[in-house]
Subunit: 400 residues, 2 copies
Amino acid sequence: MLSGLRVLEIGHFVAAPFCTRLLADQGADVIKIEPKTGDPVRQWGEMVDGKSLWWSMHGRNKRCITLNLKADRARQIVLDLVEHCDVLVENMRPGQLAKLGLSAVSLRAVKPDLVICHISGYGQTGPGRHRAAFGLIGEAVGGLRHLTNHAPGEYDLPPVRVGVSIGDSVAGIYAAYGIMGALWRRDRGEKGEGGLTVDVALTESVLSLMEGMLPEYGALGKIKQPTGGAIATAAPTNAYPTRDKLWILIGANSDGLFTALAKLMARPDLLENPDYVGNAARVRHAKALDADIARWTAKFDSVDLMAMLEEADIPSCKAYTAADCAADEQYRVREMIREVPDPAFGMNVLQAGVVPHIPESPGVIRWAGPDVGAHTDEVLSGVLAISAAEIEALRREGVV
Amino acid sequence: MLSGLRVLEIGHFVAAPFCTRLLADQGADVIKIEPKTGDPVRQWGEMVDGKSLWWSMHGRNKRCITLNLKADRARQIVLDLVEHCDVLVENMRPGQLAKLGLSAVSLRAVKPDLVICHISGYGQTGPGRHRAAFGLIGEAVGGLRHLTNHAPGEYDLPPVRVGVSIGDSVAGIYAAYGIMGALWRRDRGEKGEGGLTVDVALTESVLSLMEGMLPEYGALGKIKQPTGGAIATAAPTNAYPTRDKLWILIGANSDGLFTALAKLMARPDLLENPDYVGNAARVRHAKALDADIARWTAKFDSVDLMAMLEEADIPSCKAYTAADCAADEQYRVREMIREVPDPAFGMNVLQAGVVPHIPESPGVIRWAGPDVGAHTDEVLSGVLAISAAEIEALRREGVV
């Protein structure tokens, strides 16, 4: 879908590289600039022979070049590359890029309609823009962490992380959306209109997902509280235990589905219990109802329970682990689980497929995350026509 | 940014309407088709006078028309509207749209380069495509729910929900990205190339965020497990209690930050404890280290603790509630917290701002979520030039 689009990434960690993974998956030519020490994600998570498995997916489809951005000559190379690019994506602290001599003014002097996408913790403006921000801070300041917990007073445990740096990845998808929107405007706009800037904040990306949280607080003073595995407005819907110590999610909150569930449980009395008649009553008595259901689910192994629920057409599934995802037939058929050859490991690496799926132009995983600087020569000679001798000199001088 | 773009939504619940909120926020003209009973979200969450506060934000900036899609005449009106639209977004069960006489072939017969975006639980193809799917199922089958929990064996509580329908909203952002990518291709492609299809699945949208989960399972057989508020690869980073019963997030996992924290805690002994020298050792002993830190944080009220941590330049924040988000100065300065006049409530409704922020072309909240059918006459007469008498007849016949 995006072949013919060229993107320069001066990114590290999760948010900006995740954004460019999405663009590269759809066919864009992403040129990623790293220092010789490489993006820190190359050292994150489980490693084999000193190489991160995560990187195999995070860096895929990109052309990786090294540049020492503190060298004057490197700054000129960035500007030369920008001339050949549609988009620049970066996630340094706000202002840092300008300090390196790469302000928007300098960048647009060589490429007036360049789309510039900044990703940061708190955004490019405002009194808090310089604060240090990790993914966890986006998640917490966006309001998500507080809600990821059991109900207040139930266990008094701290809220939990959602298991991935969700603040970063949500910001990365927003960035990809903003970039494509800005390119649409560019190609539609009057000639001479400059390129747009996309200013993505981790905190704001999370805040934008919070549904009724702000409207309800503003109008009623209601502070949204966590509800464990349940949903505040529908019951029963939760994770329930099985005999083999797994968790099965069941969503049976319409009257029809609840009737089907009660029947399956051989508990017609539940349907006559006034506490459980209608969703509103069930929500008020959700704790007792969930306990009733959990006592029933705990009698079965997950395989049997799942089969019974599917037979009764009640929305349900396991809380999938990595192994469940890898084995899922639907994912396999849709190529959402792929084996990607990775010479760094001398084997195939299991990776998620390309999202979203575009049937007429499905994305391609052309290669796994490359080594640091793997494409330096190719990009400098192919895009900028710098000679081999000159590249050698740049290498000696520590510029590349 | 997106003025001049016209989008038809046949959506309900969260995913498709969230996608079109993002497009409308950036200036697209979104025409939302509802049955006369309205989108169920109009009845979700806290209500005032029978009207959902969440809807005020979820439906904002859209033009809402009613159509009884089972009426033949309605099908023709949809096709007439499609002729004037760039994009169709829908999230019915796969195949349902075709059953209503609105297959891709029929739609593209009137608008050959229409971008069609389907959002569903499991995608438009494959053996599992017809399974019922709520947001919670996307979250669970994507692998996120399993990870949103305390470490195995610690409390044996069920995994928790992240507090919002994250499977839906992440799918909605992916859809917005895919749509803008497809439009970029359309405007760049050869004349006569058809429009692209964007096939977004909730499950796949979540799976794509799971970082090293699949590569590590494939190569090492390692099944990623939840880690509570901690991160498996860095320590200390967690939520810690305060004397006033709040949770403060602290990320002090580099050696420099950990030194600063130990100093602030007046615990130089921590720096000499071999269990805590280097991130790898700290990760191995994270539980003990977190307990040490928690004993310290619990002595202070959150305000004092936050001030001390900020003074020491240690990344930290509260787990923001609705009230904290609403009061945050950075959000206010960047207009990420807005008071939107809503005639349905006769007052301003507190809403999140427009993400991502495009400084040269900031999105505008033109109006809050409208009543069912508020724009039926305006759209039928303005876009399709249907006369007032004809609209009256359609209304009598129950078509609109």
